[in-house]
Symmetry: C2
Subunit: 335 residues, 2 copies
Amino acid sequence: MRHRLKDVAERAGVSVKTVSNVVNGYVHVKPDTRARVEEAIAELKYRPNLSARNLRKGRTGVIALAVPELDIPYFAELARHVVTAAAELGWTVLIDQTGGGREQERVVAGGITEHLIDGLIFSPLALTAEDLAGLDGTPMVLLGERVDRGPADHVGIDNVAAAREITAHLIGLGRRRIAAIGSQRTPEGASARLRLAGYAAALADAGLDFDETLVAPAPAWHRAEGAVAMRSLLSLPVRPDAVFCFNDTLALGALRALHEAGLRVPEDVAVAGFDDIEDGRFSVPTLSTVAPDKERIARLAVELLADRIDGDRTASPRELPAPYRLELRESTQGP
Amino acid sequence: MRHRLKDVAERAGVSVKTVSNVVNGYVHVKPDTRARVEEAIAELKYRPNLSARNLRKGRTGVIALAVPELDIPYFAELARHVVTAAAELGWTVLIDQTGGGREQERVVAGGITEHLIDGLIFSPLALTAEDLAGLDGTPMVLLGERVDRGPADHVGIDNVAAAREITAHLIGLGRRRIAAIGSQRTPEGASARLRLAGYAAALADAGLDFDETLVAPAPAWHRAEGAVAMRSLLSLPVRPDAVFCFNDTLALGALRALHEAGLRVPEDVAVAGFDDIEDGRFSVPTLSTVAPDKERIARLAVELLADRIDGDRTASPRELPAPYRLELRESTQGP
DNA sequence: GTTGCTTTCTACAACGTTGTAAGCAACGTT
DNA sequence: AACGTTGCTTACAACGTTGTAGAAAGCAAC
C-alpha cells in the first residue's frame, strides 16, 4: 500500500504539482490548500519515492564512506563522526569496507561512484595517484595520508610532525633506546613511511642514532602483530627502553607482550601509540598516544565534499590540515 | 560526461532496448550485435543509472543496517560481517546509527524504510513491539534481544542460557560472592534483563542466594561505567570474589578499576564478560567471555532478509537461534 | 507459396518525481 | 476601462531505465 503524489492530489482535490510544492516547502501555497494537502498526506501516510526524486534531480542525497576495515577502532570512531556530521547537513552515509587492498580500493573508487551516491569520502591504504587519476568526476575527499599530487581534496593531520612530537616526548623521559613498531615497505604503507620519518627526525633532533634493528615491521597494524613485534624486540641483545607504535592497536598488542614478559610499563619500557582510540583510555596501563581530532576531520571532510558537490567541481584540489594533540597517560608517565 | 543507454544505442546503431538487453544479459542477442554494443559501452564507459533502474524495478539493491553506536566494538564487528555477507549476495549496505534512544530508533525504523532501501537489519535497544507494529511492510530482521511477540524475523543467541553458563563457570571456580555489572531498569534494557535472569538462574542452580547489593547498574554499558560500577562493588563491606559483566566493554572497565585498586585478577576477583570483542583477547589479563558467532548471526540475518524481500512478506515471523560458546581466558582461569 | 515457429530486434509506455511555462484570479495603478 | 503585478495553481515534459507487445527476418515443413 504505497501511495504516490497522484493519490494525495486526488484526495486533496489539487494537482500533483501542488502536492509536490507542499512537500518541498514551496512558499506560494494558500494556507487553506496547504492544510488540505497535509491532511491528505497524513491520512495516506504518503512518503516520497526517493528513487524517482533522485532520477529527476540528478542527486541521491547519499554519500559513501569507504574505509579499510570497520572493526578497526580508529575507523569505527571516524565512521561514527562522519555519519553524525553528514546527518546534520542532511546527507545519508553509505559505508563501505574495502579490505585495504589496492584492487578492491580501485573497485570501490571507480565502481560505487556512479549514480548511487553523490560523493565519496575515502580513506585509502593502497591507492595510488594514478588509480585516482582515471576516475570520472565524482566528487571525492581523501582522508588519512596524502596521496601525492592526488587529484582530490584531502583532510588529514601532519603525520610527520605528530610522530616527531610523540617520539620527542619519549626522548624527554630520558629514554635512549627507542624502538618503533609498524614499519611497512610496501607501497601501501604511506602512513608508516610518514610516521617513521617523524620518528627518525626526532632521533636526529636529539642526536641519537637511527638503529635499523630497533624498527619492527607490521603489515596490517593489528593487535597480534604488535605483540609479535614487541616479542622480537625484547629478544635483542640489549632491549629497548621505549617503543613508539605507529597506531594504538599495535601498542595494545605490545603492552600485552610486555606484560607476558614480566616487564613493567613505563618503568622498564615506555610505550606510545597513535590514534587515541577508546581502548587506550582503559587499558592497563592507559596508553599515551597522538590524538587526531576525529570529529574535526569528519566535519571538514563532509563539508568539503558537500562544497565540491554543490560547487565548482573543477576547482583545484584543496589540502586541509586537521589538528591533533598528545594525550600523555600511564604508559609513558606512570600512574 | 555521463552517458545513457541512448548514447550507447546510437553509437552501436541499435535500439535502446537492445543495449538494455545486453547490459542485463538477455540471451537472444546476436553475438555480432552483442559485440558491437559491448564495444560501444566500453568506449563510452557507460554505467547504468541506478536511480532510474530502481524507479523502474521498484528495488534498490540496498539494505540498511541500523545499530545503536558504531564505535561500540561489538557492533563494529557485527557491521563488518553484515557488509561482507551482504556483498556476497549482491546487496549494498547502508549503515545507520540510532544512538539507541527509543525515539531515534522509531525514526529509523519508520523513516528510512521508504523507497531508498529494500530491507532493514535492525539491532534495537529501546524499541518495543508496539513501535514496530505500526510500520508498513518494509522487510525487517531484528538482531539481539527478542522483542516480545515482535512482528519481524529475529536472529539472536539465547541470552539467558549463555549468561547462566558463564555464571556457572564462575561458580565452578569456587567463587561464592559473585557480582553482576550492567543491570538496567529501563524498558530499553531487554538484554540486561535476560542476562540478569541467566545470572540469577545459575546462582539458584548452585543453591547460592541472590544478593541485590551485588548487582550494579550501568545505563549504557561503556567502559567508564564498568569502572565506576566495579569501584562501588569494591567498597562493599565484603567485596565480591567474581564479577559477571553483561558485556565486554563493561568488563574492560572493571579490569581497569581492579587494577587501580591493586587487586589481582583472577586470584582476588575473577571477571567474565559477554560479546567476545577483539580487545578482550589482548587485554591484561585476557578476558573470559561469551562468544556469540557473529559471522553466523550476520549471515543468517542477511539471508533471512533477502528471503523476505524476494519471497512471501506476509509469512509469519521466524525465530532463528544463533550459536555461541564460552571463551575462557586469563580473567577467570589465570595465566 | 502458405503456414507456423524461432530468433532478433524495436517502439512505446510506464515507474514517481520536479522544472518550466503558462494560466487564471484578484488586486492596485494609470 | 485597460493595464501591469502578484499570488496561486496547473498541464506538460523530462530524468534513464525496463516490461510489454509486437514487427521483421530467417527457417522448416507441408
